[in-house]
């Protein structure tokens, strides 16, 4: 009995995601994987999957999935209305579907990305060890379209003993903790403080690669081009406009703009739920902007 999911309505942008392809940046492959990794892990735990099973990441929800066979699913991340076989269901909780029933996600009321895990995991063929779609590196399965059929795998653990995972609501104006990046000296003195003390607004130029922010410009102290250098998720790159770009899951492996600061890994999930138009603030959690050189101690 091989189970599957039929995509009736794909939502505006839905991809298959797991925990991605860590450790391959040296050959030009980024980590990718779920933008909000905590929500993916939770969805998997709620259906008794290993945390790294592949699930669906749906921007703003708006998804209709049909299950020809009975299934256990969980929806996490951005809160949205959920019905399963016409019955109202809740987020962050296992949801049971009978054969032939539809899972319907409404439009997310806040946050940006919903996650749908199914017990057994989405079983598309792995590429370089992961099933995640890397939208920039063009790896993994295509973005979901209506009529697509997704195989369901059999990688499961015991059913969990919980029926609801309490989660703090997504904040109206998230505060993202940052630590200094490598190119602080490329900016005028005080630029890091400006970043940390001014609010920024997420623009509509936002996808899995990154989010362009709008707010106080961070001025350069020096001109010139930076040769390509490696980047990490959470890096805040500053192009000549002075308006930060926050790198998310599918960020380029190398980038050419100076990185002034890095959002803590622990706050990347929150960053991935920021909607266009929403305000964000940064809080500097580590002051020492220093470097280490040979022969100097």
């Amino acid at each position: 009995m091989t189970s599957k999911i039929e995509v009736v309505r794909p939502g505006i942008f839905t991809t298959v995601q797991d925990l991605g392809r860590p450790g391959l940046a040296a050959i030009g492959v980024g980590r990718s994987g779920a933008a909000d990794r905590g929500s993916l892990r939770l969805a998997n735990r709620l259906v008794g999957n290993p945390e790294g099973n592949a699930a669906l990441e749906a921007v703003l929800g708006g998804l209709v999935l049909r299950f020809p066979a009975p299934a256990t699913v969980a929806v996490t991340g951005a809160p949205c209305s959920i019905t399963a076989g016409g019955r109202a269901a809740g987020p962050d909780s296992p949801v049971f579907l009978r054969a032939g029933e539809d899972l319907v996600l409404g439009t997310a009321s806040r946050g940006l990305r919903c996650y749908v895990a199914v017990r057994g995991g989405i079983d598309v063929p792995p590429v370089l060890g992961a099933r995640a779609t890397d939208t920039l590196g063009k790896l993994g399965p295509p973005v979901l379209s209506a009529g697509t059929t997704l195989p369901v795998g059999r990688r499961v653990l015991d059913h969990p003993g919980v029926d609801l995972a309490p989660r703090a609501p997504l904040p109206d104006a998230p505060v993202l903790r940052i630590t200094p990046g490598p190119r602080v000296p490329w900016f005028v003195p005080g630029a890091l403080s400006t970043l940390a003390s001014s609010g920024y607004v997420a623009t509509s130029d936002a996808d899995r690669v990154g989010v362009r922010l709008s707010g106080a410009a961070l001025r350069r102290a020096r001109d010139g081009e930076l040769p390509p250098e490696a980047a990490v998720p959470g890096a805040l790159q500053i192009p000549p406009s002075g308006q930060p770009i926050l790198f998310l899951a599918d960020h380029p492996v190398t980038g050419g703009y100076p990185v002034i600061a890095v959002v803590d890994e622990a706050d990347l999930d929150l960053a991935a739920q920021v909607r266009p138009g929403q305000r964000v603030r940064f809080r500097l959690t580590q002051a020492p902007v220093r470097s280490w050189s040979a022969g100097v101690s």
């Binding site: 940046a25 590196g137 492996v253 190398t254 600061a261 902007v289 470097s291």
Partner: protein, 205 residues
């Protein structure tokens, strides 16, 4: 070399001499300091990602600065020869800009011995150093929306093979059928950092 903080979980080693990047990369790869989880070379830098539960910036910086960046045996992998049809759409423009014939461009490109110094831009896209200074030209003013897989191209101090079809602004001088990138192959990338490469049109003209 200088070690710069890169957020809470990484450090960036910055070099004045780009040839030191691969030396330190090889040294740290062979004998990684405690807590190091990933090394990512680039043009003038090496990113060192670490587990903050096992080390910290001060300790890692000390371990890195103790390393030599030159005393490293060359990579044992054999030189890779990339067969090229030199019929790229920008070959004539490159010849004109470099003030030489197309045949001379081809000869100079073939005469070079290149080293893969880092990957970026796309999976398997390797920046190869060693380009003849006479062929160092800026990118096209208007990038192409689609460059075919296998295109052999030059830009600035680098030459490269496009691993997959993608947009691109480099100048296309030829093409190869050698698959430099194949996700079903282990390793998927033929031109890993440190690999030596030559281009040859022998037998293809």
């Amino acid at each position: 070399m200088r070690v710069l903080p890169y957020g809470a979980r990484a450090a960036m080693v910055d070099f004045d001499d780009p040839s030191e990047v691969l030396g330190l990369h090889a040294s740290l790869e062979r004998d990684p300091p405690d807590g190091v989880i990933e090394l990512v070379p680039a043009a003038r830098t090496l990113l060192v990602r670490f587990d903050p539960g096992r080390t910290h910036h001060d300790r890692l910086a000390g371990a890195i600065l103790d390393r030599s960046t030159v005393d490293v045996a060359p990579r044992e992998a054999a030189e890779i020869v990339v067969p090229v049809h030199y019929d790229g759409p920008d070959l004539a423009d490159v010849a004109a800009a470099a003030g030489m014939s197309a045949e001379a461009v081809v000869r100079r490109h073939e005469d070079g011995t290149y080293v893969s110094s880092f990957c970026g831009f796309a999976p398997g896209f390797a920046y190869l150093t060693g380009l003849d200074p006479a062929l160092r030209l800026p990118r096209r003013t208007s990038p192409r929306t689609r460059v075919p897989a296998g295109s052999v191209a030059i830009a600035g101090e680098y030459t490269a093979v496009y691993p997959n079809a993608s947009p691109g602004g480099w100048r296309l001088i030829g093409r190869t059928t050698l698959p430099v990138w194949d996700v079903d192959r282990e390793p998927p990338n033929l031109l890993a950092p440190g690999t030596r490469i030559r281009f040859s049109s022998a037998g293809l003209r």
